[in-house]
């Protein structure tokens, strides 16, 4: 196990992981997931929020098995390598708020950093604007870290507490299987089945999905590899800016190349700005949305993918961040802050500005004295 553990820490391993994530995501698109959304942690958590009835965007409701698989892949990796450690207590409410605003920013841009990279790999030029915003957001976060920003140490907690997130994922999986695979539909249970969760989109992005078990399988592999290699899109930028370390950046570059090669092979590469799938061309808010997300991720110590992997290895603070994102998704849709392909929602710009203000206050006020 020791030799294997060393391998996963190597540059080869992070490059292979990034490449496989890119390939796997592009493949999921070929198999039915929405375009340039093979794996989008923010979009998929948003769809789960919709499936549970937390918001009413009829086109964004599905229990995405990818989220379940990413967490379980990380859990399996952590258990196999003796890294499962239940821990929590590092400013959970702040992490909830950071997750909340990270999601608002992501839904203004229409994607998390993973999807920004997948959009780039699919030829969507608006992704360049979003990634520039992400870089600025992370750079502001790095500024705070250099000035002593810290949410403090977490503490060990009961092992069973670390299992809360995985058990919640099992519950989601049962809901999904019950309704889509085993045919135990709501119609059998309720006189008015349309009034009760879970909801599954009949049309729109929420209705587009690869076969359940393939989605789950690919996500399990990615979750396993990403837990081992500490893959993180925000961390890639942060480490370059903070400590001049390119390690994680190699994984991000490999993700783009893997997705691009697969997209190209499948005829899924369509360069341009206008008319890109589940995207808009409001550059200011593509930039602003991702800047907000980047800052929130930097202050929370990981991109939304990394937060899933950490929650799979027992990190309760990362799990709270994920909960913040899910609640943020519900707010974004309920309050017309999420963008559509037409452009930002009525309150999208305001939510970005509010989020930036909150994150700046967090960055300035939560510093440890030297």
């Amino acid at each position: 196990m020791k030799g294997l553990a060393d391998f996963f820490g190597s540059r080869k391993a992070i490059i292979a992981t990034g490449f496989l994530i890119g390939m796997g995501a592009a493949l999921l698109q070929k198999l039915g997931n929405p375009a340039n959304m093979g794996i989008c942690v923010a979009c998929m958590e948003r769809d789960i929020a919709g499936a549970l009835g937390f918001h009413r965007a009829a086109a964004a409701q599905y229990i995405r098995p990818e989220i379940i698989g990413l967490i379980f892949g990380a859990l399996i990796a952590a258990l196999s390598f003796g890294e499962f450690r239940a821990r929590s207590g590092s400013a959970p409410m702040v992490r909830f708020v950071l997750g909340f605003f990270a999601m608002l920013g992501a839904l203004v841009f229409l994607g998390c950093p993973w999807r920004a990279l997948l959009r780039l790999s699919g030829g969507d030029g608006n992704a360049i604007v979003g990634l520039a915003g992400l870089a600025i957001g992370v750079a502001i976060g790095v500024f705070f870290i250099k000035n002593g920003y810290s949410l403090g140490a977490s503490k060990k907690t009961h092992t069973s507490a670390g299992w809360i997130m995985p058990v919640m994922m099992i519950a989601l999986m049962l809901l999904l299987l019950g309704n889509t695979v085993w045919g135990a539909s709501k119609a059998l249970l309720y006189a008015e089945p349309d009034s009760f969760a879970p909801f599954f989109s009949a049309k729109g992005p929420g209705s587009q999905h690869a076969p359940v078990l393939i989605s789950l399988g690919i996500a399990l592999v990615i979750g396993f590899l990403a837990q081992r290699t500490r893959f993180c899109t925000m961390g890639a930028l942060r480490d370059v800016l903070l400590i001049g370390d390119m390690h994680l950046m190699w994984g991000v570059v490999a993700l783009v190349l893997g997705a691009f090669a697969t997209n190209y092979a499948f005829g899924q590469f369509n360069p341009g700005f206008a008319g890109q799938p589940v995207a808009h061309t409001a550059h200011t808010w593509n930039f602003g949305g991702m800047a907000l997300s980047g800052l929130a991720f930097a202050l929370a110590g990981g991109c939304p993918g990394r937060q899933l992997f950490l929650s799979g290895e027992g990190d309760g603070d990362a799990a709270i961040f994920v909960m913040g994102m899910i609640v943020g998704a519900a707010f974004a849709h309920n309050f017309a802050a999420a963008s559509t392909s037409e452009g930002p929602g009525l309150w999208g710009p305001a939510s970005v500005i509010a989020g930036l203000v909150v994150c700046l206050v967090i960055g300035f006020t939560m510093r440890q004295k030297a």
């Binding site: 450690r85 870290i145 250099k146 403090g152 977490s154 942060r238 400590i243 370390d245 990981g302």
Partner: protein, 71 residues
């Protein structure tokens, strides 16, 4: 007597960033860094080795004592 950093419970980038500041200030010598996650162990080790410090690891009950040395 080795200098010491206790980074237990802190998530990256803090352990690696604090280590960076410390070894840059020290220039050479011996620094003990105590961490409690595999990610922090790998990140601190990679940072130190990239900067010409040797690293030895002692593991005890899920905690890692990293001893960084440079002549």
């Amino acid at each position: 007597m080795a200098d010491k950093l206790d980074m237990r419970g802190l998530s990256c980038p803090q352990p690696v960033y604090e280590t960076k500041k410390k070894i840059e200030a020290m220039g050479s010598g011996v620094l003990d860094v105590l961490v409690d996650s595999g990610a922090a162990r790998e990140n601190v080790t990679r940072l130190a080795e990239n900067r010409g410090w040797s690293v030895s690891v002692k593991e005890k009950e899920g905690e890692f004592l990293l001893t960084l040395k440079r002549q």
